[in-house]
Point group: C2
Chain length 284, copies 2
């Protein structure tokens, strides 16, 4: 199998796959041939935070939504919606609510991924059937999972078109204000945002290394062994990456520990339960 590479020549995809796997792990991962051009696209993912001002081409949003709707959804419930924001003033207000992230201003398109139980509740009312099942934590979780599956399909699709994107979890910092800005009805919740645009070639993003597979993949039962050596190896590999990128060198083990140390590190999101209750989710 051959794939096109950046300079327009063609090269063996097994070799390209091996290079991508090396970038992802910074360690040997001896696998049979890399499989498919689709997998090359997946392995090539990088989060893009610097965009050209060019708008996305006409029809792109609809194509991304078609990809998103093609993702699996539990019992075919389809419990999500998208609000596509292109108005610069609205993007600026949303950016302010999401921790002043510059890429929201810069990206020409900002997609808000909404857990949507409003459509299901409205449908139930038309059918004269109660929708009490929506009151449970399970139903909120199902909505969040299906929304995420759909959004990831959109990310894969947009990257295959030469666009870049970055999820914005900061949109959960101020859920009630975000809902007001987007005109969300009760029982809907903006789970995350997604910036979309053409990557700025002047600020290229790189493939970020991840934890070694032995830390995340287990056979038959969860591995109870000490994962300290795997994490220590990852700390070293991530520092090499940070050094190459001119980023401050900082161990993952320290970053991750600080990120989950307490409510003070959650940027307001420790209040999420209360906000969800106000937005009409009971979470029983």
């Amino acid at each position: 199998m051959e794939v096109a590479v950046a300079d327009g020549s063609r090269s063996d995809s097994a070799a390209v796959g091996a290079a991508l796997l090396h970038d992802r792990y910074r360690a040997p991962l001896d696998l049979p041939a890399s499989g498919s051009d689709v997998i090359e696209t997946l392995l090539s993912h990088r989060s893009v935070r610097a965009y050209l001002p060019d708008a996305v081409p006409p029809g792109t949003i609809e194509l991304l939504i078609a990809a998103a709707q093609s993702a699996p959804t539990s019992s075919n419930l389809q419990p999500w919606s998208v609000v596509a924001v292109e108005d610069p003033a609205r993007k600026a207000r949303l950016a302010a609510l999401a921790g002043d992230q510059r890429q929201i201003l810069q990206a020409p398109l900002f997609l808000l991924w909404i857990v949507d139980h409003h459509r299901l509740a409205r449908n139930g009312a038309r059918q004269d059937v109660p929708s009490d099942g929506l009151h449970f934590l399970e139903s909120f979780l199902l909505g969040a999972v299906d929304t995420a599956l759909a959004a990831q399909n959109a990310v894969v699709a947009l990257e295959s078109l030469g666009l870049g994107g970055c999820y914005i979890g900061g949109i959960r910092n101020r859920p009630v204000e975000v809902a007001a800005e987007l005109g969300l009805p009760p029982r809907t919740f903006a789970l995350f945002g997604l910036t979309v645009g053409y990557p700025d070639p002047g600020a290229p993003a790189s493939v970020k290394p991840r934890l070694p597979q032995e830390a995340v993949l287990f056979r038959e039962r969860y591995g109870a062994d000490d994962d300290a050596p795997a994490v220590a190896a990852y700390d070293r590999r991530l520092r090499t990456f940070q050094c190459e990128q001119g980023m401050p060198e900082r161990d993952w083990s320290e970053q991750a520990a600080q990120r989950v140390r307490g409510a003070d590190a959650l940027a307001g999101r420790h209040l999420l339960r209360t906000a969800l209750n106000r937005l009409g989710f009971h979470l029983a």
Copy 2:
């Protein structure tokens, strides 16, 4: 751009894309050229519930995990793990816990996608930093979202290899028993399963139509208009699909209403909050 089609000939991908879009919506969706072979793979998704007995090739699991780890993850926390189950006896026990779904027995591989705060808590303990941030609903939600993003990358990857899969939400019917079966430590939770194998050509799956885009995609603000016409159109289109498939004809609006009518329709999952508490998630 050309793509290979099933009979080995080659055809124009814009036409293939249009056919796939028609299958997905059963209605015209006039879009510019379909974009990419990757998007063709996404639009072609179908849930596979009948498998050949053949094992997946060596290295496939690792390749799927590499695709999964290439998905975005909030703050690079990587809060998930996978338990890959191939032992028929364990698959049978898990199938019994998940509502006796036959495809779990039939698929040669069953991947369990685990929200994993155990690794983060253990890391915090090594760093002598509290991990109190994990006690909040936000952190559980972040773990579930990142697990879903990763799993969907694996689904896209496996479909590109000619394999098929089906998410198993039924694994949430009995979370505590599933955790015991998999040897899960505290602060981990099997969010869903994923059956994987070669589709049985004797029982082919089809592309399932989804709601029209006007029901799920809004511009700038959530559309408050009545969605009854869009749902009614979808009911008709889904009945056409069901008729073609020899399935019982039943309106989506009725199926969806019954699915969320109350606790009795949740197969035990109305108790999820209590189960998560027992598994070490505080959900404050």
